[in-house]
Symmetry: C2
Subunit: 492 residues, 2 copies
Amino acid sequence: MADQITKRSVNYSQWYNDLVVKADLAEQSPVRGCMVIKPYGYAIWEKMQRILDDKFKATGHQNAYFPLFIPKSFFSREAEHVAGFAKECAVVTHHRLMNDPDGKGVVVDPEAKLEEELVVRPTSETIIWSTYKNWITSWRDLPILCNQWANVVRWEMRTRLFLRTAEFLWQEGHTAHATAEEAQEEKQRMVNVYADFARNSMALPVIVGHKSPNERFAGALDTMTIEAMMQDGKALQAGTSHFLGQNFAKSFDVTYTDKEGKQQYVWATSWGVSTRLMGALIMAHGDDNGLVLPPALAPIQVVMVPIFRKPEEHDAIIARMEEIKKNLEANGHSVKIDDRDTLRPGFKFAEWELKGVPVRLAMGPRDIENGTVEVHRRDTLEKVTMNLDGIEEHIAGLLDDIQKNIYNKALKFRDENVEKCDSWEEFKEKIGTGKFLLCHWDGTAETEQKIKDETKATIRCIPVDSYVCEEEGVDIYSGKPSKQRVVFAISY
Amino acid sequence: MADQITKRSVNYSQWYNDLVVKADLAEQSPVRGCMVIKPYGYAIWEKMQRILDDKFKATGHQNAYFPLFIPKSFFSREAEHVAGFAKECAVVTHHRLMNDPDGKGVVVDPEAKLEEELVVRPTSETIIWSTYKNWITSWRDLPILCNQWANVVRWEMRTRLFLRTAEFLWQEGHTAHATAEEAQEEKQRMVNVYADFARNSMALPVIVGHKSPNERFAGALDTMTIEAMMQDGKALQAGTSHFLGQNFAKSFDVTYTDKEGKQQYVWATSWGVSTRLMGALIMAHGDDNGLVLPPALAPIQVVMVPIFRKPEEHDAIIARMEEIKKNLEANGHSVKIDDRDTLRPGFKFAEWELKGVPVRLAMGPRDIENGTVEVHRRDTLEKVTMNLDGIEEHIAGLLDDIQKNIYNKALKFRDENVEKCDSWEEFKEKIGTGKFLLCHWDGTAETEQKIKDETKATIRCIPVDSYVCEEEGVDIYSGKPSKQRVVFAISY
C-alpha cells in the first residue's frame, strides 16, 4: 500500500498527488480542471463543514443561498473586482441544445443565445450586494450576517486536486454593517473563527495577519489571512476575511437611513474557506505511509481488525469488538470493524494507515483469552498491547493526545523553519529552501513586486498574533526604513 | 401582516407567491428564473437536509461530489436522456471576459472559446457513470451507494419560486448494483425513505406509486414517485426514485466481472428530492394567516412574546422566559424570545403567525403574579392560559400533537378529494375542480396522451400503498379493458 506512494523526500509534489488519489480522497474528472470528491474525501469535508457551520451560527450568522449565475453587467460594476476575476470566468451564452443538423449528437442552438451573458460565480459579492439593496432601508435592517455554502468556478489554467481547481466548494460569508468599526470587528471575528478552527480542529498552526495591498482580495480595503506552513516549507493561504469598506455598497447603491435620518452607504465584509483546506490537511500532517488525520476531522476515528484462523475464533473476536464499538460510539467516537473476509490483516493495516485513521485496534484469539487488545496510533506508529479493562477511557484520552500531538509536531516543524533574515543575499539563498523568512519591508507595493519577480516569494502576511516583531529596521531589499517584520515565503 | 396576503379563496396562486415573499422564504433574483433563498427559508431547507441526510446514511449511502459541468458529448450518449434535457440547458461556451474594445465594461473574449461546450448539470447521471466506469472492475466493487447535495440548472421558461426555477438545490442519489433485483430493491427502499420523510417530517400525506411510461425520467425503465395533494386539489410530485436498468452502464461501458468470471453490465438507480419540497410544505399546510410549519421542520418551534408597560415588568418577564427557554432547549426544542423594543405585541403575534411558528407563549405582569402563561398553537389558532408548573412537558406534548394534527388535517382533506370515477363526462367535469380521480386506464401511452390533451390531467401514479384498487374494469376514455385504477390529477 505505502509502496504505491512516492516518498516525500523523493518528490513532495508527487507524494501529495499519490496520497490524494490512493487514499480515495479525490480524482481528476473528465472535465478540465474539475475534480470528483470521493466519499472518503467528502466525509472529511463534511466534518469540516459541520464544525465551521456551528461556529458561524454561534457568532450570529444565518445561511442563505444566492444564484449560481451573475449577469455580466453586475460583475463589472466594481472596477477592481472585475479586473481580478474577468480572466478566469466560465461564461454561459446559450440556453438550449439541438440535434446536429449535419449528423449525430447535439449542438448549441444558435437561436437560443442569451441577451446578456451569465458568468458562473467565481465569488458572490456582486449578486449578493445587488440583493442586499432591497433588504436594507433603515439602520434597523442592519447588520445582515449571511453565509452560503456553494460551488464556485475560477477557470485556472494549471490545476491541482483540492489546491487549485476550476470548480471548488466553499463557504462565503457576506455581511452588511452600519459602521466601519462594526465591519472591521466582523472581519477580525471571522479570521479568528478560522484560526481557531485551523488550530483546534485541523491541528494546523496558522499565522494570523494582514495581507499586503498587492495580495488583497479584488475590491477589499483590508484582507486578513491565516497562513499555514506545509512540510516542504511552502506557505498555504488557508482562509481569508475581508473588510470591503463601502466599495460594493457604492457600486450597487446600497444605503440606509441612520438614527439621525441621514442616508449612509453600508459597510461590508466577506470571508471564506474552501476545499483547499483539504489540501492543507493532507500536506501538513501526512507521512510516507499516507494520511495522518486529526481525530476531530477523521470520518473513522477507531478501526478494529480481527486476526483469526478458525470461524469460531472470528465469531468470538467480532462479538467482543461489537461490544467495544458500542461503548466507544456511546462516547461519541466513530468506529469501524473491518470484517472483510477477502483481505489479510496486514493489507488492512496498511490501508487504514494510508487513510489516516487515528487509532487501530487488532485482536486475535490470544487477546480474547487474555482480555487484551493491540492498540496502534497512526501519528507515531507506536503499538502497545493493553488490558481491555478501561479501554474506552484509554481511547478517549489517546484521541485527545493524538490531536494535540499532531498540532505540536506541526508547530515544532514550523518554529524550526521560521527565521529572521536581514540580508538580501541570505534571503535569496534561503527562501527556496523551505523557510518562512521574517524580514523588514518598506511598505511599498513596488518593493514587494521586485522581490517576487526575483525570488517568487511573496509577503504572506503582516502577522498580528505569531512572530509579531514591531521594531525599527531597514527593508531587506530597498534599504528604506521599516517598522515591522513581515512573513515572506514561497506559496501554494 | 395577514392582510398583506391574498386569501386562498380569492387567488390561491397569488396567496402562494405572497406567502413565499412575505414570510421571508425566497425571492426572485435579478437572474432570470433563479431565486434567492432567504435565511428563514434556507433554515427550513437545512432541517430537511439534515433529516434526509441522516436517513440516507442510515441506509448505507455516502456523500460525494461530482463536477458542475458536463461535456456536451457525454450528455448526448444516452439517447432518451439527452432528448429529455437538451432543450433546457445552460451552456458554457467561453472561459474569459475582456475589456470591451469599443467602450466601457467587459465582453466575452472571442479567443477564449472552449473546444467542447460544457452543459451546466441538469442532473448528473452522465458525469457520474463516466466516473463509475473507473471505480468498478469486479463484483467486489459493488454496490456503490453515493449521494450528492448540489445545485442543478434546467432552463425553464415559466418559473415559480421553489416550484419551478432555473436553478434549484437538490440531492441526487446514484447507485450501481450487480443485479437488477438489487437495483429494484434500492429504488423501492429510497422511495420509501422519501415517503417516510414526507409523512413524518413534512406532515405530508403522499401516495407512493409507479409513473406511467410517459411520465418516467428520461432514461429510466421505472420511476417511482411520491405524490401529494395541495390545498387547491392539484398534485405535486415531491420526490422520485428511478430504476435505470443498464442504460447508463451501456452508454458509458461500465461492466464488472461477476463471481463466475463473466463480464456483466452494471445496474443503476437514481433518486432525488429538491427545494420543490419547500413549495409542497407551504401549499399543503399554509392558511390565510401565513405559513403553518410542522414542528419537525420549524427553525423556531416556540416563540415567546413579552407584554409589559414598565421596565421592571419587562425585566421580570424576560427573566422568567429565559428560564423556560433554557428548559425547553434542554429538551431539544428551538426557542426564540422576541424582545424587540420597537414593535407592539400584536405586530409580533401576526409576524410569527405569518412565519408559521408552531407555538407562541405570551406573558404579562398578571401572568408573573399568577404563575401562568398564554399558550397559542399556530395550527388551530387556539389559545389557553396555563399554569407554569409542568409547562415544559406540556409543550413537548403540544408539539407532538401539532405535528400529528397537521398531518391528519391534510390527510382528511385529501381523502375528501379523492374519488373513483367511471364516466368520461364526469371526469371532464370534475378533474378541474381540485380532485384526484381514481380511474381505470388501458395502459397505453396513446390514451394517456389523449386524456392529457383534452383535460391537462396526467396519471400521477399507479398507486402501490394508498388507494390501491386492483380490479377488472374498462378504461375511462378508450373503453378497453383495465386491471387497476390509477390516479389522475392536474399537477404542478
